[in-house]
């Protein structure tokens, strides 16, 4: 194959202990402890400002973790591990280039094989005919699909998705959900944040519920929606404001 990172040991279980993030004097994340122990789909739920995106960014290594620790199969984060993690941002960051060049950018070497792989992925996300189009001229849904295709090109073991379907049309939403399920079947661990309860029910095996920077609940999705353990989660499901 082309220059996909060599897979070493599995990244799971991911053990997060005592993870805190301070922004000035504000605690964004407060002593988070959890274990992501299998190749499932985890949905992070919680109101705005609960710390969901920060949690994803800290797993990706974008934000320094202090105090606290994140271990990937007993290894601390390093560049080698980070190359096996892909993060799709809520607002896609696309280079000022064509769709194809945006895909090419993540590869270290460009060759015939990698070009074929790019085209395969673009077709998979429904952008096969847009390869020469400037990426920034794509619609919101198309940009999000391109962002996902670019993340998949590096063939990550762990896929982090920050509200991947926020404000998307039903076609893009269905396509992205199908890809998420498909990639999970192929053995990828997926952690996504969402405000869409239906999506969490459809996709997630486990739910992580955040509020005010605290992880209040980690439970099986089926149990979470049937009988959440905390009153905050119950209020959130019922669409009430959490104070």
């Amino acid at each position: 194959m082309f220059d996909k990172p060599k897979k070493s040991k599995s990244l799971t279980p991911i053990v997060i202990s005592n993870l805190s993030i301070l922004l000035g004097k504000t605690k964004i994340l407060d002593k988070i402890n959890c274990k992501i122990n299998n190749k499932s789909i985890f949905a992070i739920l919680g109101p705005n400002g609960a710390g969901k995106s920060m949690f994803l960014k800290s797993i990706n290594g974008l934000i320094g973790v202090k105090p606290g620790k994140i271990n990937f199969n007993s290894r601390e984060i390093n560049d080698h591990i980070r190359k096996e993690i892909a993060l799709v941002f809520q607002k896609p960051t696309l280079l000022r280039r064509s769709v194809f060049e945006n895909m090419q950018f993540v590869l270290e070497k460009k060759n015939q094989l990698s070009n074929l792989e790019i085209m395969k992925l673009l077709q998979r996300v429904g952008l096969g005919t847009f390869k020469d189009k400037p990426a920034r001229l794509l619609s919101g849904g198309e940009q999000q699909r391109l962002s996902l295709a670019r993340a998949l090109l590096i063939n990550p073991s762990l896929l982090l998705l920050d509200e991947p379907t926020a404000n998307l049309d039903p076609y893009s939403l269905n396509l992205i959900e199908e890809i998420i399920l498909d990639e999970n079947k192929k053995g990828k661990t997926i952690i996504l944040t969402t405000h869409d309860m239906g999506q969490a029910k459809r996709l997630a095996n486990e739910i992580l519920f955040f509020n005010k920077g605290k992880l209040l609940e980690q439970t099986k999705a089926i149990n979470f929606f049937k009988k959440p353990k905390t009153k905050e989660a119950q209020s959130y499901i019922n669409g009430k404001i959490l104070l």
Partner: protein, 233 residues
């Protein structure tokens, strides 16, 4: 007189006036070389200042920003003092040569290139940095990507530098001496002809200088419009 000047300007170009083309060629040569060397120094320096965060960075940027408004005659005077026979670099023997003119123009252009490049790259880096970090992109590759994606904006910076160089008179007249067939350029000729009362020729040269600036700006605008349409700016 304006019509007469236009006629004079056309005559100069159409009759392939030898002296005129010599002046024009030297003007372009001095401006292009000073621009080239300024870009070689200014683009990496501006990019470095935009991407790296180190102690004193803001002070350096403030100094370069302030230097964008340097009075050319002051620069000319300083360069003159440095390269005149009694100056520290007098041994180089470059006073009243095109080399001295290039050096003086570089001092005027480099701050423009550094400040504007830093501004552009800083903006693009701010937009891309989380992506680069999450993809574990090397800083070398990130730097090239920023410069490549800012190429149309950088072009504007380069042309702004060229505009400063080609229109400059104060510094080059001091260090070049406006010597016929040696250091006489368009702007210094205009100054000389005006002082001699030969306003028609001065105006004709001015018109040609304006035309050069106009052509360069037209190229720039068409390139930027094309890029903007493709959302590359």
């Amino acid at each position: 007189m304006i019509l007469e000047s236009f006629k004079h300007a056309f005559d100069l170009v159409l009759t392939l006036d030898k002296d005129f083309f010599e002046i024009l060629l030297l003007s372009m040569k001095v401006s292009c070389f000073s621009l080239l060397f300024s870009c070689l120094v200014g683009l990496p320096m501006g990019t470095y200042l935009a991407i790296k965060n180190f102690w004193g960075r803001d002070t350096i940027l403030i100094i370069f920003n302030a230097m964008m408004g340097l009075p050319p005659v002051v620069v000319g005077l300083i360069v003159y003092l440095l390269i005149s026979r009694s100056g520290p670099f007098g041994w180089l023997g470059i006073l009243y040569t095109p080399t001295a003119m290039i050096i003086a123009q570089m001092i005027l252009i480099i701050p423009i290139i550094v400040s504007l490049t830093a501004q552009i790259i800083e903006e693009i880096n701010e937009e891309y940095k989380d992506l680069f970090k999450s993809l574990v992109i090397s800083s070398h590759k990130a730097l090239i990507a920023c410069l490549y994606d800012a190429r149309y904006s950088i072009l504007t910076v380069i042309l702004a530098g060229f505009g400063r160089a080609i229109s400059e008179v104060g510094a080059v007249i001091i260090v070049g001496g406006n010597i016929d067939h040696l250091t006489r350029v368009m702007t210094t000729t205009i100054a000389l002809e005006t002082s001699k009362g030969n306003l028609s020729l001065a105006l004709a040269l001015g018109i040609i200088l304006l035309l050069i600036a106009l052509i360069i700006n037209l190229i720039l605008i068409s390139l930027k419009t094309r890029a903007k349409r493709r959302m590359y700016v």
